[in-house]
């Protein structure tokens, strides 16, 4: 009994550097952000006075009534939605083809995955070059120039500088979504491929002998089996999209009328560019809660299964 007790103490001692730092860096700092979000630290003077004048949820209320933040929420919603759909569609399609081990498949697989090794900052730099529209109609550049040279002028448009929107979807986001899909669809492919390789081939063979079409095999067998993997991929991708700060920062910034703005960019500007510390903290906490809504049910579920 005494030995057991001593063992526990040693275990805790080994863990203690991690426990202490994470207690401060995660839990302490989140609490601090919550506190600042409820103070009136939206001017440098108030911040310097360290005034403890609590305003309750006022910062949150003004945030949600502000048009920039509303735009940010719509942008996040549509960005996440199309980003996930795009990555899943492309990733699953490629994994199904590659699972048949075509000649040269290994080469293609590695090719589709390499963007995962690159920084969002690099991705943003290159895709900004591609999608920067130039001055239409006379001085197109990037992809618009390519369209002109191919005689496809009617495909030219403002890309990430466009201020058009449909049902709250700022079409400028399309350019950013393509860049993000370019970076992450290989990830979905790898997840699906890993799952497909574990499926018993006899199962598929049996279905084929029973006369099932390829589409039926996909919808009735493969997709249901791969559901947990697909769900994990969705969670990861949603998580990535909420944190796409570096991509937007390097590629477009907030854009005209905030068409490509997201909460993470607004948070950065509020906190580090315009001394609105309380607004910045409130945005940060909203982001945390959005991630929480997404992750907690997923985690509870996977812990139960374990």
């Amino acid at each position: 009994m005494k030995r057991k007790h001593q063992e526990s103490l040693t275990s805790i001692a080994i863990l203690s550097p991690s426990i202490i730092t994470l207690a401060i860096f995660v839990y302490g700092f989140i609490s601090r952000s919550v506190q600042i979000s409820m103070l009136d630290w939206d001017t440098f003077a108030n911040f310097m006075r360290k005034a403890k004048d609590y305003v309750g949820l006022e910062n949150y209320i003004s945030l949600f009534t502000e048009s920039r933040f509303q735009t940010d929420l719509w942008n996040t919603l549509y960005f996440t939605l199309f980003f996930i759909i795009g990555c899943l569609a492309i990733g699953i399609l490629l994994s199904l083809i590659l699972n048949n081990k075509p000649r040269g498949g290994y080469f293609f697989q590695n090719l589709y995955l390499f963007p995962m090794a690159i920084s969002f900052v690099v991705t943003g730099t290159v895709w900004r070059w591609i999608f920067a529209p130039g001055r239409l109609p006379n001085n197109p550049r990037g992809i618009n120039l390519l369209f002109e040279q191919l005689g496809l002028q009617n495909l030219q448009w403002g890309w990430f500088t466009s201020t058009n929107s449909f049902l709250g979807f700022n079409v400028a986001l399309i350019a950013v979504i393509i860049a993000a899909i370019w970076q992450y669809s290989g990830y979905t492919m790898a997840m699906w491929l890993a799952g497909l390789r574990g499926i018993d081939q006899q199962l598929i063979e049996a279905a084929r002998i029973d006369g099932a079409s390829k589409w039926q095999i996909f919808t009735k067998i493969l997709f249901p089996i791969q559901k947990p993997i697909t769900l994990s991929a969705i969670i990861v991708l949603a998580h990535v999209s909420l944190k796409a700060f570096a991509l937007i920062y390097a590629m477009t910034g907030s854009g005209p009328n905030n068409v490509t703005d997201i909460p993470a960019v607004y948070m950065f500007e509020a906190t580090f560019r315009s001394n609105r510390y309380s607004t910045g903290s409130a945005i940060a906490i909203v982001l945390l809660m959005m991630v929480g809504l997404l992750i907690i049910p997923y985690l509870v579920n996977s812990f139960k299964e374990e």
Partner: protein, 275 residues
């Protein structure tokens, strides 16, 4: 399986694979062809063409500007990767084979740190780093990456060690080995593959990271990712220099991917929740 396919099906499949290969390679084409142009050739009308003659002007200028930042990134990434891997390995070892009352809850509390958006800790973190005098320095950034890397490294090692049978630890205990000697003689030696996966994962992530880098450093200590975005800020956009800079930024992690692809994919499948 290939033999059961009709020729038409085969052609369709390769067409799809090739179309996507082009999509994935366009940015690479842009990067390489633009980076090898001279400034006079980066004019708008020829932007999609290959350089008429190869010029390393862009690389020279990008390297002159970015060399200190490349060094900063290495100074940052190597120690941060090492420390977070070693600590993660110890944590994973304890949390899988020396469980105590509440250790599972503790593990969950540690894991939570990898799911948070870092915006939610960012401003207090900056203030804290200023208070302890590490703001704007590379050691400060190392500390931050080690701490926020702990959840994922702990998870990866714990999952790896969980497959080691308890009987092994018990037998070693009977022979008089203690928690440290069991780690040194049994667990550490068998976890080399796991270390490789974690090293590659942490190296890539920390090298590519931007948010902490841009908020916690000054001009002296900026890693390469921040310096690359600053290149864009100048008056005339010298695209050849920027693309050269982007290649310099991407090259170390791309090389890691090319050389250690298999381990990279393992790490990605295990730890990509961190994003």
């Amino acid at each position: 399986m290939d033999d059961k396919m009709t020729t038409q099906e085969k052609i369709t499949r390769y067409a799809v694979l090739i179309v996507f290969a082009i999509f994935f390679l366009i940015p690479m084409y842009v990067l390489i062809s633009t980076s090898l142009k001279s400034f006079s050739e980066v004019s708008i009308n020829t932007m999609w063409q290959l350089p008429s003659s190869i010029s390393i002007e862009g690389f020279k200028e990008a390297f002159a500007k970015l060399a200190p930042n490349v060094l900063n990134s290495f100074y940052l990434v190597i120690p941060a990767t090492l420390f977070s891997a070693i600590l993660g390995s110890l944590n994973g070892y304890v949390l899988s084979h020396w469980k105590f009352k509440g250790s599972d809850t503790l593990f969950a509390l540690i894991l939570f740190g990898m799911f948070i958006p870092y915006q939610s800790i960012l401003f207090p973190l900056v203030q804290f780093m200023q208070t302890i005098g590490l703001y704007g320095s590379i050691p400060g950034l190392i500390l931050v990456h080690v701490v926020y890397g702990l959840p994922i490294t702990t998870l990866m090692f714990r999952n790896y060690y969980q497959d080691v049978p308890d009987a092994l630890t018990e037998a070693a205990k009977v022979d008089g080995a203690n928690i440290f000697s069991i780690y040194r003689h049994i667990f550490f030696p068998i976890s080399i593959p796991s270390f490789v996966v974690v090293f590659i994962w942490q190296f890539t992530n920390i090298w590519n990271e931007f948010l902490f880098a841009v908020t916690l450093t000054d001009t002296q200590s900026q890693p390469i990712t921040v310096a690359l975005t600053n290149l864009a800020g100048s008056q005339v956009v010298e695209w050849n220099v920027q693309m050269s800079g982007a290649i310099i930024t991407a090259l170390p992690t791309l090389l890691v991917y090319i050389i250690f692809g298999r381990y990279f994919i393992k790490g990605m499948l295990a730890g990509s929740v961190k994003g």
